[in-house]
Symmetry: D2
Subunit: 326 residues, 4 copies
């Protein structure tokens, strides 16, 4: 089944993903992991909330950690191209019968709260408080030297529906897999910013957040993180990798934070900026699509994810190919 | 002097730079350098012309080498967002009294030939013959493992005028230096594709091509190239580096091809995709702007460049700060 | 159980390991793997034999591949400090009732053929044909850029006996594991040349060769090899890794040649040259001893090895801790 | 002029270099540089003295910084193979009419204080206080991640005499340059521990310490140090590099501490352990001997060094080739 054709004049312009708001049960433990270990910089902190940014970002936050009773993902945030895109977005979501309301959000300008048709909570903003650049403040680099947030990956109980919706708002598919009989999409990687993805969807109990990813400078930064985590009490938080993905060609590592939120450290995918860039189809039976070097992912990686606040996850409406669990 | 405000709705949409056509005096020597040493892949070859692409590119060429009597640069090529952008571009250039004519160009779709107001020969196209992807054909990687063309840098005898023009067609400035009294721009880095630049201008005898740059995977690829060139007869072709630029924060090396064309190997600059991304101003007296680590560039680097075919270079209309030659 | 005290004035002086002679069933397939893929340089070739060296070596060979009906390891070769050490070695082995005879070996000077008490076939030599240095012939570097042979690792059915013998001839233990009740050694790493090992022994059906290892420049060379093997038909030959060993602290990868011979690519262990360097004991229950980052080794890695020609392997005389197979 | 033949049975056995004692004028500034910036670990500290070790070392110190009125080098320290080697060394130095006396040195066992015939102050010891290993304490790694002290380099006013002496005590030459007419050595690299050198001598006003070098994991660690120094106020302390030496094939950087002591960060030379390893001769006119990539060293690098306490430096007894200053 072919993926839908890209929409080159979308109803509103998304620039890129920008931030995720996660609920964590212990802010001090979360800070030790996200900031002291991964190396994100703390830009704001209160009793209930921690704001973080990566080294190359000038906006106030790419991750917001909120204290709560149970782990969860509260919202995925995207930046639009201009203030007026927020109004166009509001109209678009309303016309589709989806929730759409402007909210006051600290450190952000006007922010539209909404959700996609499958229930993924989204927010769109144009302006965010800007901070002085620190990309050349090398004394601050530590951990995996995270440079910027790169993408979200979500379980979807209907990948075709997810892809159709994000295509409609201007996302373009770069790589994908299909079900065995090629009638249904199995997974898809979709971008706005010119890399392999801002957002990916994988067949599974959903919607749930599979992971949030950060771009790091080189594979060596990931190896340094592995050495650090293995010798500072976090060996059990290493879930998968290091390896190179067949899909995206990126060098990767997956780790879990103290609440189980999955984080990918990611580098060296490729430029996809051309509007006529053609997506790559992978065969589900090719083991190299997940890890080019052939190593399988652990079962937890296929099954576990973070619930979106207020959105119950559903079993997919069609069966998984048995090959997936192999 | 402030740089001009970005134009968010430009008259036509440029996606990115794509290719350069260079005249070389010895095609065999050029092939030995560009393909066997740097590692670009040959995609077409005749008695008079050599086509090359980098590992991640799917278009037919990013460099065209043409045999000729004297080294020169014939045209800088840019990809537009849609076929209609070519017509909008034609109208734009005609309205400015600049040359604008469609040409038949092998392996490219409809191609608009024109020049900027200072005389830099340009061409714009939307469609190019697509080749199978080779970014995962690792057996083909060699030399510096060039992944994609990254930017052009030109001497300009009037940087303010160059910046004004490219701003008008939608390029956005990311970093710049000014003359000592802050009345004139000294140099500027301008992008379309979301990195530090597709095109940069430096004060000097112009217009001339200062260099064309290729994105490479990591600093280690550049170190490998240095070792290779030093031991295969090309030690004299190494001009400057390796180092890290203050401006762009990229790791770099400059080499010269057998005809003296300057090539930059470049990696790890940063994402600039936000429309409200603020440019960074550097002080001309800060030695770290050129090389963060303080090493000066050689005199040749400030003075030598490639002539644009049919465009005589002019001395700048105002004086260089003496500090530059230090 | 403490490991035996080092013998600082051994009966003869071994400088380091130097070479292995392996039997392969298809020389062309072996050449494609060892030379074209791994990057070892061919220094001699006949219908029945292939000689290889690594980039930094000046001796004629570190690997000899001989055509034969079944895969096997014919001999492990060591260099001694002076010609007279060969005579001292002969006397030593004879006094122990072990075979000891001088043989004519192409490209080598006088060569003593013998075996250790468990049946591992050994040869000692002082002089070998010297070749011009190629460590700065960077155009020849390819594959994993192997710099030198680093160590052998053997299954032993009696690790205590193996360690006692190699200690007697001057090898010093750097790291080790013991059986659960600390009465028997489980594995030991022993060196002459000042790294973590020239020779290691692991509890198992033995004697068999577990692997031969090559020192490579950096982890990036190993990542390059993985990318190359994954896309040139060798994905099934990748057995374990990449990772960092807890024991030795080295970054590693294990691959299998077309005949199943196991090869380790290895870098960044540490200097152990001091005669009073103290060995490190690891707990068998610490998963980080094998891979610092916690990933388990596959079952094949514990069970499969290369038979030594003419030496039947025996089951160990005591039981494995069940924890090992976990 | 051929270098002298190696002495394979020296009068006493040196294992390797171990430490240097330097006088600094401001201990706090020195600590900020050596520990906070380079990344050496503080193992002892008093009002007048700072002890440092590198990450892989288990002995108490590889650098001792003493507070004093003027920068200087007080002694170069070497480890011998056994306690008795100290007595053999004492006899050797006395027989040559050189000073030789045992001294009490904190954290070291019996220590022989002496000097070479040109006046370089030396000390030899066998035992040193051992500290717990920290090579896998990755949370402590910072700066350039120094793994171990690698070598000393000294200006000598008579390189032939220096080489003759160190050859007599068992050092072996690995690489060298000669004066233009090949009658005198210009520089030589000599080792005990199996790398390119523990000790090197260069023609110049001597004896003076040219630099002390530390082994670091990869070229990337050196690039990280450059970025750090350039942005923490130390850009003026970067003297030469990064680059690859022709001689030694090592990747290098030279920096100066706040008192002007020169430090080399160094990695990836090669194994020289074989007693019949043949030295490499370089032509003084080959620019690649200093930097394989052709870049010249600055004048300071040829002229400045650290005085040895109590040893006046002398002009060389023969003239430098004019080519050197080029």
């Amino acid at each position: 089944m072919p993926i839908p054709a890209p929409v080159l004049a979308p109803p509103f312009h998304v620039v890129r993903l920008n931030h995720v708001v996660l609920t964590v049960t212990d802010l001090a433990a979360a800070r030790a992991f996200w900031s002291d270990t991964l190396g994100l910089q703390v830009t704001g902190e209160s009793e209930d909330r921690l704001y973080l940014r990566a080294m190359e970002e000038r906006g106030h936050h790419c991750v917001v950690l909120e204290r709560g009773g149970a782990p969860g993902a509260r919202v995925l945030g995207f930046k639009v191209y201009a203030e007026e895109d927020l109004d166009r977005a509001e109209a678009f979501f309303r016309a589709r019968g989806l929730p759409a309301a402007f909210a006051e959000v600290p450190h952000q300008g006007r922010t539209l709260r909404t959700s996609d048709p499958l229930g993924v909570p989204l927010e769109f903003y144009f302006a965010m408080e800007k901070l002085p650049s620190i990309h050349q403040a090398y004394a601050l680099y530590r951990g995996v030297k995270p440079l910027r947030i790169d993408h979200f990956n979500c379980f979807s109980d209907d990948v075709d529906a997810s892809v159709a919706f994000y295509t409609a708002i201007g996302f373009r598919t770069t790589e994908y897999t299909e079900n065995e009989d090629r009638t249904r999409l199995w997974a898809a990687w979709m971008h706005r910013k010119g890399g392999v993805h801002d957002m990916a969807f994988t067949h599974g109990v959903g919607p749930r957040l599979h992971h949030v990813a950060f771009w790091v400078p080189t594979p060596m930064a990931i190896i340094d993180l592995l050495d650090l985590m293995a010798t500072t009490g976090y060996v059990g938080n290493i879930e998968r990798g290091p390896g190179r993905h067949g899909i995206s060609n990126a060098f990767f590592l997956y780790v879990r934070d103290p609440d189980g939120h999955r984080i990918e450290l990611y580098c060296s995918d490729y430029q996809t900026i051309d509007p006529d860039h053609e997506p790559i189809r992978w065969d589900l039976r090719d083991p190299r699509r997940q890890t080019l070097w052939g190593a399988p992912a652990p079962r937890t990686w296929f099954e576990e994810g973070t619930a979106f606040a207020g959105t119950p996850a559903r079993a997919p409406s069609y069966q998984a190919s048995p090959i997936i669990a192999a």
